[in-house]
Amino acid sequence: MVLRDIRGSIVAGVIFTLVLGLAIPALFTGFAQVAFPSQADGSLIKRNGVVIGSRLAAQGFAKPQYFHERPSATSPAYNAAGTTFANLGPTNPQLAKNVNANVQAILKLEGPYNPGLTVHDIPVDAVTTSGSGIDPDISPAYAQLQAHRIAAVRHLSLADVQQLISEHTDGRSLGFFGEPGVNVLELNLALDKLGGS
């Protein structure tokens, strides 16, 4: 009896591996490449034929003329081939250290452009690591906080920058599911198009 089970397992194993493990995924990949090539390849964005990123991955903006993303726990930061959580528990002193360091950095960077800025004005997503380490979005609140800096550095009117933010805010899917977010890479690309220094 056991021998028959072993024989059955081997035959079924071969069948399932060939069909479910190889043939169907291969056919599905072929279908994906033909029908939805952009998504299937990773939603890559190209400029002059060069891949400059993916709309689904934060890439680590640090210069003052760009909107910045959320902190990342990957190594190196914003590694889209090494996603990870920070895994720091809710009472971990290291978490407090990291959050406070992020707060100080934001106060220093945004303070000059936002007179009277205090820690209480910083939205929580700005100082916490994301789940993936490559969260492409920031909250609309964090984008508004950065808008003053962008306008000043790029010599644009605040209204123009805010207009751009609202154009690049993805609302809830179908107006209902999930939370609104601002895709930072797309927003920054739009900024570059708009000009300013």
Binding site: P25, Q59, P136
Partner: protein, 566 residues
């Protein structure tokens, strides 16, 4: 929080509305002598001939269990070999090296048991061949095994004076071909259109706007994601699982992926009702699940919205509104926010799924306690595909038994007398895994090698350990992911994975087997009714008391202590 509550409410309604027709369909899959027209029937006949089984010949519970074991061990060996040999196999464009032996052992055990606990980072460890023909294949097959066993156990409950439960090879085939494959193709296609990659192309180097080089991992993701969610598997292509935009790009994919977690588990309750012709009883079982599910969300969502101690002390703005979702955003994604991450954390541990759309290690103390409790119940709140409902059967038998003791009558369930043997199998099925969880957690906590896995200091480190062995023993696969891989944790985990899968599975088949041999006794005035709201109260009470009381002392050492500190 109103919008979040509305999303959770809509979720629950859509889930039940989709699960109902699916359940009736699945009942047909497992009861029709021929399914799906002459062409499909010929395909099934051909498969049976190759495998060497006569599909009219059924197996008794012992033979069924033996085939399941042999089949699972066979694939365990294959999956181990694939990981060790992946460097020499094809579809390895990123030149991933062989998976180290201890990791390969734990991972093979993890995927054949429908667990998908991951001590590795998928995008940097596993070749496309391993992901596709190794891991994702097991996401189909192990899920199919669970459903096959459930179908067999239900037949035992439905039949009278019968010696057999069904033919494993046919049940497995039908689970795969008529349930998991079509649903996966549909969900996979939707995910693809929204941004899940599906390519054999290698990792890309992008030249960022600021002149840096960024590596972007891709691969055959979309189809794997579909079966990962639908088969209560949970093992992601990427390390951060469904928190990664390439697995879960937006609010709509998130909604569909959480629906997929509980779709078949909820559907199988309707399937049960149809197969045993006891729809009102099944509705009460479902109601008990909904109650426990809502209790979980009702704790996790406010706990996460309230924020963690560190974030509240930091002074940053964690209030919801004004363009942010606020709350404990540590290791969470903006596009999901608090409500959807709390909902996911609850659903994924109600079922044996274990996928996550945010980091569980960073959950607040009470937000993180809900997943531990859910898993400790044995994942019977909807539960794993197959395993969730047969796990619930253990509790139902115990509940009926207790009710019988209270009224002084021989307990009955759906016309079958519950006697010593049934109680024994149910008790083993319900109590073995919780006992093992506590034992393994204790071993890990009192040994140096065990402590080496802990990442966070203090009570949270204990929670990490408790979570790890609760998750692996109950075949969930989610983690407080700071918990690290050592040779010891890989081996102890493998023990938990194997025993946690196969002891309850065999107990369930045994229960189905002995129930199948019984006659039906007509209901009398003294029969405890299992088709009314009293039964819901009793069943929920039994689950909370048996498993809840067992884990309570451990919870006080972990999440409860942590929740009470400032």
């Amino acid at each position: 929080m109103g919008q979040g509550i509305a999303q959770i409410g809509v979720y629950t309604i859509v889930l039940i509305a989709l699960a109902y027709p699916l359940g009736l369909y699945m009942a047909r899959v497992y009861t029709a002598p021929r399914f799906g027209g002459p062409w499909l029937d010929a395909l099934e006949r051909g498969y049976c001939r190759l495998v060497g089984t006569d599909r009219k010949k059924e197996q008794d519970w012992k033979s069924y269990a033996k085939t399941v074991l042999v089949f699972s061990i066979f694939f365990f060996l294959v999956l181990y070999a694939i990981q060790r040999l992946q460097a020499h196999l094809f579809l390895n464009p990123n030149h991933d090296a062989a998976v180290p032996p201890h990791l390969a052992l734990n991972t093979a055990a993890s995927f054949i048991t429908n667990t998908n606990w991951q001590y590795y980072a998928g995008e940097s460890t596993m070749s496309y061949f391993t992901q596709m023909a190794g891991l994702a294949l097991q996401q189909f097959v192990a899920a199919g095994v669970g459903m096959a066993v459930l179908a067999a156990v239900i037949r035992g409950i439905a039949r009278r004076s019968a010696g057999t439960l069904g033919n494993f090879w046919v049940d497995l085939y039908r689970s795969l071909v008529y349930i998991f494959l079509p649903l996966s193709l549909v969900l996979g296609t939707i995910l693809l259109t929204q941004g899940d990659p599906q390519t054999f192309g290698a990792t890309v180097s992008a030249h960022t706007l600021e002149g840096a080089v960024q590596q972007i991992a891709r691969g055959p993701v979309a189809l794997m994601l579909a079966i990962k969610q639908l088969g209560t598997n949970g093992g992601g292509f990427y390390n951060s699982n469904s928190a990664v935009p390439f697995e879960n790009p937006n609010g709509i994919t998130n909604f569909l992926e959480v629906i997929a977690i509980l779709l078949i588990p909820a559907g199988q309750v309707f399937m049960f009702g149809k197969m045993v012709l006891a729809r009102r009883h099944a509705a009460m079982v479902l109601a008990s699940m909904v109650v426990l599910f809502l209790i979980g969300v009702a704790i996790a969502f406010p706990a996460e919205q309230h924020g963690s101690q560190v974030l509240r002390a930091s002074g940053v703005d964690i209030t919801q509104g004004n363009g942010q979702s606020g709350g404990n955003m540590s290791d969470k994604e903006v596009r999901f926010g608090i409500a959807n991450t709390a909902l996911w954390a609850t659903a994924t541990t109600d079922a044996s799924n274990g996928s996550v759309d945010g980091g569980h290690d960073a959950l607040t103390a009470f937000g993180g306690m809900v997943p531990i409790l859910n898993m400790f119940f044995g994942e019977v709140v909807f539960g794993g595909v197959g395993s969730g409902l047969y796990g619930m059967f253990f509790y139902i038998v115990i509940a009926v038994f207790i009710a019988g003791l209270m009224v002084g009558r021989t307990p009955e369930w759906l016309g079958k007398k519950i006697e010593a043997r049934e109680i024994k199998y149910a008790a083993v099925g319900a109590l073995f895994v919780p006992t093992m969880v506590l034992t393994l957690t204790a071993i890990s906590i009192v040994t140096k090698v065990g402590l080496a896995s802990i990442y966070n200091p203090g009570a949270h480190g204990f929670s990490e350990t408790l979570y790890a062995y609760t998750s692996q023993s109950n075949n969930n696969g989610s983690a407080f992911a700071g918990f690290g891989l050592t040779n010891f944790s890989a081996e102890l985990g493998a023990v938990a994975l194997f025993l946690g899968r196969f002891v309850p599975l065999i107990a369930a088949l045994a229960l189905g087997g002995v129930l199948g041999q019984k006659k039906i006794v007509p209901a009398s005035a003294g029969t405890f009714r299992t088709d009314g709201p009293t039964f819901v109260v009793l069943l929920v009470g039994v689950i909370l008391l048996t498993a809840g009381l067992m884990v309570f002392p451990a919870l006080t050492l972990g999440p409860i202590v942590e929740g009470l500190t400032h």
